[in-house]
């Protein structure tokens, strides 16, 4: 079942923060986050496993609330290079390696 992402689109100025949310109606094994720039392939950002953890690198971090089956991606002090479409992908507990993607959040960072 497809996870629900919000917002659908967000426009920021350089240096501003953004949060992208991803929720599922099923018990999750993991949540993946990917970024896709226009005309390119999706690129892996991070994975969060069951156990409710928070991860991050540079100024992009994510959290996973296992009880609520929700994950959030945090982009702080955004840079122009952060522009793109962000997808969360969820693996349902007990599924056979099936990663189902949300509909994506289009992030635009303006100078």
């Amino acid at each position: 079942q497809q996870p629900v992402q919000s917002p659908q689109a967000v426009i920021l100025r350089e240096g501003e923060d953004a949060v992208i949310n991803c929720s599922s109606s099923k018990a999750l094994y993991s949540v993946h986050w990917y970024r896709q720039k226009h005309g390119e392939a999706p690129v892996f950002l991070m994975i969060l496993l069951k156990g409710g953890e928070q991860k991050g690198h540079d100024k992009i971090s994510a959290s996973f609330n296992e009880k609520k089956q929700q994950s959030s991606l945090y982009l702080t002090a955004s840079q122009l290079s952060y522009s793109g479409t962000y997808f969360c992908g969820t693996e349902i507990a007990g599924s056979a390696r099936q990663l189902t993607f949300g509909s994506g959040t289009q992030l635009t960072v303006l100078p």
């Binding site: 390119e40 693996e91 390696r97 189902t100 993607f101 509909s103 994506g104």
Partner: protein
């Protein structure tokens, strides 16, 4: 060395034709996937192979047939192409449930 390579990058063809897309990965991963991304950017899993064995077969028309001659290759053959097949097709690979590494995509246009 490209980790996941797809050929061709662009495919323009007439309705009713048969075409194939090839994918190869040199990462030593045990699982390979085909995803379809439509004009609304929705990334949908089509097939998944683990060690040459089909493990995910989503609701895809029978006209689409994957074939995995070995662990490093996963090809997609499409018979009797229809207008609605126009999309970007991404091949991806992973080791167990780890992050997917995507190929650059094949942009298929059916006229």
């Amino acid at each position: 060395d490209t980790a996941v390579s797809q050929t061709p990058k662009y495919l323009v063809t007439q309705m009713g034709n048969d075409k194939s897309i090839k994918c190869e990965q040199n990462l030593g991963h045990d699982t390979m996937y085909w995803y379809k991304q439509d004009s609304k950017k929705f990334l949908k899993i089509m097939f998944s192979y683990n060690n040459k064995e089909l493990i995910i077969n989503e609701t895809v028309p029978n006209r689409f047939s994957p074939k995995s001659p070995d662990k490093a290759h996963l090809n997609l053959h499409i018979n009797s192409l229809e207008l609605g097949d126009s999309a970007v097709y991404f091949c991806a690979s992973s080791q167990e449930r780890r992050p997917r590494v995507f190929g650059a995509g094949t942009r298929l246009s059916v006229l």
